[in-house]
Amino acid sequence: MTLEDTARRAVEAALATGASEAEAWAEQGTSRRIRVYEGEVESLSDAGGRGVGVRAFADGRSGYAYGTDLSEPAVTETAEAAVEAAEVADSDEFAGLPEQCGTTSVEGLASGDLSAWSTERKVELALAVERAARERPGVTQVENAVYSDAEGSIALANSKGFSAGYEATQAWAYASAFAGEGSELMTGLGVGLGRDPGVLDPEAIGGEAAERALALVGARQPPSRRCPVVLDAFVAASFIGFIGSMLSADAVQRGRSLFADREGDEIAAAVLALSDDATDPAGPSSSPFDGEGSPTRRTPLIEDGRLLTFLFDVRTARKAGRSTTANASRGSYRTPPSVGTSNLTVQPGSASLEGLFREAGDGLYVTEVAGLHSGVNPVSGTFSVGASGRLIENGEAASPVRELTIASDLVSMLLAVRALGAEARWVPFGGSVKAPPILIAEMSVSGS
């Protein structure tokens, strides 16, 4: 039985148990992870996963159930459990399947080269990442050097007759390097990603980890002040990822977003343009259809500083009298669809990093933030987060700093964006974001 057959079978079983509408998401995949330490394989894993998740609707109520067993009786049981779960929910007039299901053609989600790579070659790649980091003078240790990849198939079927599937591959490598010693020990992270290991550059990944750690050696706590701040691409991506989660119509409708009632408003400087794009072939979260079968698309979110739209799935769109933006996302078969970003992309500017420093004059270059998700109030947008990086003096990067906090609120920060770097990169943590470095005109920096 193919994966699509399994999904269709689950839909039929749910309908047979009394569901008025039903949907099933089935997946099957394998993944590998290779961790090396001091020139040896520390761990090597090979994993196989499979499962099906069923969403059942009855009398306006919806329930969800999932299971790892894809045998026919077990799939039927999972479908029945979804129908049973629906019975305790309160009815929801907006719940249901999309009016229009379909797929968008997105090329290049899967690379055939992945399976051509032997385990030995992948181990070599991980070792090369570690070597590249360790070779830099001043690096005392490489804590982690990891290669990881995954290939999987997804199938979605629903009672409106939609049935489709796709395959995707992904490969990553990252390293974290240490420089300095004792209480002066600094860490740096380097990362690379693509559809297969062939596109990963071990020199660049290991080198980045080393350089980030080395740049912080000797860091001191700076004095408190208000000044221009340059966020590097990692840090900019972290903020953008958080802002993206606040643009979910679900967060807005539940009153948990500072952007509620701000649609159409000027919420950012005119230089900032942000979109959500599930059709970018390079985007780690790209796909032909979203988690409930709507064809994917690119959705501009902020242009000329204005907030154009929120991100919708079918339910939130019905509630708002709008159309879905195909942003129903699924973590896995274990979770029902919910509104989420796909790939957030910040349009790059024209400045080099050095150009941003020159424009900042005297300020702070932030290369790491800690505690972003706990440090931001999602409703008011005020935040105060731990950070480290370098001072900017006379338009150039100067001495390293740590144990400081940067504070502002998200809208003030967006409005204070003065310039963007020309070089944007994919950052895979905290969602999938492509961002350049960003210069903020002023933020409150608190240190000693």
Binding site: S43, G182, S374, G375, N377, A407
Partner: protein, 461 residues
């Protein structure tokens, strides 16, 4: 009844060691869960799941080879054993014969939650929602979540060990939003345990009520102060500071990689003699407790700091072998999809003699940090940052105005050394701890603790 028959487990271990390795382990698990929430006074997201799977690992020298599979059928297990063995190129090794399965003495579960009708769980959420909304007219939203899980775990290894555990957990969490004059604040609270439905039978509505009180308090909050100040940290969830800033640095994987500021410091005086701390995976029905850890080692109480002296790290089997010591029962994993790593269970400061009032009386100008919104630490340096979700000014020895937007920035070693008072009101709260891509239930706790001085990053200019 076993998830995996011991005879099959023996064959799987033998296949796993067919191409060498000094140790092999089969971890099998059946887990089922149910969750439900209420939002906007509407019960929603009923969700059930059933998973079965296994993780197999082989250790050779310093290397771990492992695989996991969804399913516990014979063919699933043998296939994963073969695929893991493919990583090795050595002489086959014969595993020791398995002893009889040792079933861990479980934590008392009076009412298994999966036997409670889902409709009663929905009613509980409705009652919680009502209580939150009754707290004040300013309460605009309440989100209450209920979750239960039941995990059956079996561990078989090539040393002949066979152990099993049966784990039931329930958890109720509340997030309440209050609004006044355009100002919006959120308060949270949780109640959970390695326990059955009985945990939620006595006044569960107190959970959303406390969350509502927090949100309402914050409506009156002033901007947080900035600078180096004395800080009194609240009991219960305040222990997240110990968990993050000290506990992670004592986990043996970080120590052995010298990625911990506590590496090589056993026996050192790290704090005043009044400071003692434990990791205790046995405490009856606590959130982070289990019968055995996820490598089959019985859980235990481990003294980590004794009268200010660092006395033990936290070990799993692999790291314990390397240091020539015994596992402390801290080899934990999120599920059969993960490798065990050294993790805390319930970690807390031992109670002292003082009252919370006495600790506060000694502070002329400082911060009373009752609860944290979360935190992060760099184990290599001990540097940490925490968002204070409920905090107050201390002025002239008294708790005064609530503050918002405060963060604590500092270093674990320095903060530990700066503890100059511990109260007697120990309480354990429920957290989820993330490490190595895995999330496990962890109890965090402490009595009220006073830290002489910490950097407070505030919003006040």
């Amino acid at each position: 009844m076993s998830l995996v028959e011991p005879a099959l487990a023996e064959r799987v271990l033998e296949r796993a060691l067919a191409r060498g390795g000094s140790f092999a382990e089969l971890y099998a698990e059946a887990r089922q869960g149910f969750s439900l929430s209420i939002d906007d006074s509407r019960v929603e997201r009923p969700q059930g799941g059933r998973e079965r799977g296994a993780c197999l690992r082989v250790i050779s020298g310093e290397s771990s080879y492992y695989g996991h599979v969804d399913g516990l059928a014979e063919e699933d297990l043998l296939r994963v054993a073969d695929s893991v063995a493919q990583g090795l190129r050595e002489e086959a090794r014969v595993p020791a014969a398995l002893a009889a399965i040792e079933r861990a003495p479980g934590h008392a579960i009076e009412t298994p939650p999966d036997g409670v009708p889902a409709a009663r769980k929905a009613d509980l959420l409705r009652a919680c929602d009502e209580r939150a909304r009754q707290a004040a007219s300013e309460v605009t939203q309440a989100h209450i979540g209920y979750g239960e899980s039941h995990r059956q775990v079996e561990v078989f290894n090539s040393d002949g060990r066979a152990a099993a555990d049966d784990r039931t957990r329930v958890r109720l969490s509340a997030q309440v939003v209050a609004r006044r004059d355009g100002r919006v604040e959120t308060g949270t609270d949780t109640l959970g345990g390695h326990a059955g439905w009985e945990l939620l039978e006595e006044d569960p509505e107190a959970v959303p009520e406390r969350a509502a009180r927090r949100a309402l308090t914050l409506l009156d909050a002033v901007d947080a102060p900035t600078g180096r100040l004395p800080v009194v940290v609240g009991n219960g969830f305040g222990g997240v500071l110990l968990h993050e800033a000290v506990g992670h640095g004592l986990e043996a994987d970080a120590v052995q990689k010298r990625a911990s500021v506590y590496a090589g410091r056993l026996g050192e005086e790290l704090a005043e003699p009044l400071v003692t701390a434990y990791d205790d995976g046995r405490r009856a029905n606590d959130w982070g407790s289990d019968g055995i850890d996820d490598e089959g080692t019985p859980t235990q109480r481990t003294t980590i700091i004794e009268n200010g002296r660092l006395v033990s790290y936290l070990y799993d089997v692999l790291r314990a072998r390397k240091d020539g010591v015994h596992s402390t029962g801290n080899g934990r994993r999120e599920s059969f999809r993960h490798l065990p790593v050294p993790r805390m269970t319930n970690t807390f400061f031992a109670p002292g003699e003082a009252t919370p009032e006495e600790l506060i009386e000694g502070v002329d100008r400082g911060l009373y940090a009752v609860s944290f919104g979360g935190g992060q630490v760099e184990p290599a340096t001990g540097d940490f940052v925490f968002g204070v979700s409920e905090g107050y000014l201390i002025e002239g020895g008294k708790v005064t105005a609530p503050v918002r937007g405060a963060t604590l920035v500092g270093n674990g070693v320095e903060a530990l050394r700066a503890i100059d008072g511990i109260a007697s009101d120990l309480e354990i709260a429920t957290g989820y701890c993330g490490k190595a891509g895995q999330s496990v239930p962890a109890g965090v706790g402490q009595p009220h603790v006073r830290i002489r001085e910490l950097t407070v990053g505030g919003t006040a200019s």
